[in-house]
């Protein structure tokens, strides 16, 4: 077994473990931390795929910023609640059958796909390659991105300010 395959197996297992823990843990903060484990494992997978920049972006944006936003979201709600799931045998059977079916469909469809030759020069100055592609070929999507960010910023402010005004009226 090559080192790359071993690293892939460990990282994939960590990612799945994080997902399973997130579904099974009862406290929301613990769920969030297991989600961070999944994000970090996915960042490791990006490193394996020679996408260093995407890996760093994954760590910075997902396990950094998105997690903080989720923590804030949790802090705004009643976060002392613990979730208790009730077992339902027939539903579990149906879901299990669906999962197995999905696995086999994906397994057989992925087996036949050919991805062409493996790219071997992606790791050479990865960030620079992305920069050149992004700012010469994909300018319009990039500028659209800034508009999307602006819209999300303004939208968030409008929503939050309305909440504040309602609170002020109640007082």
């Amino acid at each position: 077994m090559s080192g790359e395959l071993f690293a892939f197996l460990v990282l994939a297992l960590l990612a799945i473990l994080g997902g399973i823990l997130m579904l099974n843990l009862t406290k929301v903060i613990h769920m969030l931390l297991s989600l961070v484990l999944t994000f970090l494992a996915i960042a490791g997978l990006y490193v394996l795929l020679s996408a260093e920049f995407v890996a760093i972006a994954q760590v910075l944006i997902y396990s950094g910023a998105i997690t903080i936003i989720m923590i804030f979201g949790i802090m705004l709600t009643r976060h002392n609640d613990t979730q208790k799931t009730k077992g339902n045998r027939t539903r579990n059977m149906v879901v299990g059958a669906g999962v197995v079916l999905f696995f086999f469909t994906m397994y057989f469809s992925i087996n036949q796909v050919s991805f062409g030759d493996q790219a071997t020069s992606l790791h050479v100055e990865n960030t620079k390659q992305i920069g050149i592609e992004l700012y010469s070929k994909y300018i319009i999507p990039f500028e659209l991105m800034s508009v999307v960010l602006l819209v999300s910023l303004v939208g968030a402010i409008i929503l939050a300010k309305r909440d504040d005004e309602e609170e002020a009226e109640q007082k």
Partner: protein, 124 residues
């Protein structure tokens, strides 16, 4: 191909550092557990809060206002991520990319000014 293997092998150092970082607190704390005397009393078990008895639950419900700071942090974090490839490839891209980036930054600056005008940035 050999180049790719060099790239992958260089990440072994990262793996070693990661393993050290995870192991260090575990080993230090479990060794400390073995070495230290353990005589807990009711007084020792209370949370230390500058000599004041702890009250209420620490996990209170936050004001919705703080959520805006988190949201703005995420948006400007995404903006910063876009600056990195631009800065690295700047030599190849030249003036046109500079103008692109200026448009991008000005767009988000409008958002920041809007937030400022709406008094979102004020910390109560």
């Amino acid at each position: 191909m050999a180049d790719l293997f060099t790239y992958q092998n260089s990440y072994l150092v990262v793996v070693i550092f990661l393993a050290l970082g995870i192991l260090l607190p575990i080993v230090a704390l479990s060794l400390g557990r073995l070495l230290r005397p353990n005589k807990p009393t009711e007084q020792k078990r209370t949370t230390y809060e500058s000599g004041i008895d702890p009250f209420q639950d620490a996990r209170v419900q936050f004001n919705a206002r703080y959520y805006i700071f988190a949201l703005m942090f995420v948006i400007f974090d995404v903006e910063t991520i876009f600056l990195y490839p631009w800065a690295v490839a700047y030599e190849e891209l030249g003036v046109f990319a500079l103008i692109e980036m200026l448009i991008f930054v000005v767009m988000l600056l409008i958002g920041l000014i809007y937030a400022w005008k709406k008094k979102v940035l004020r910390w109560i």
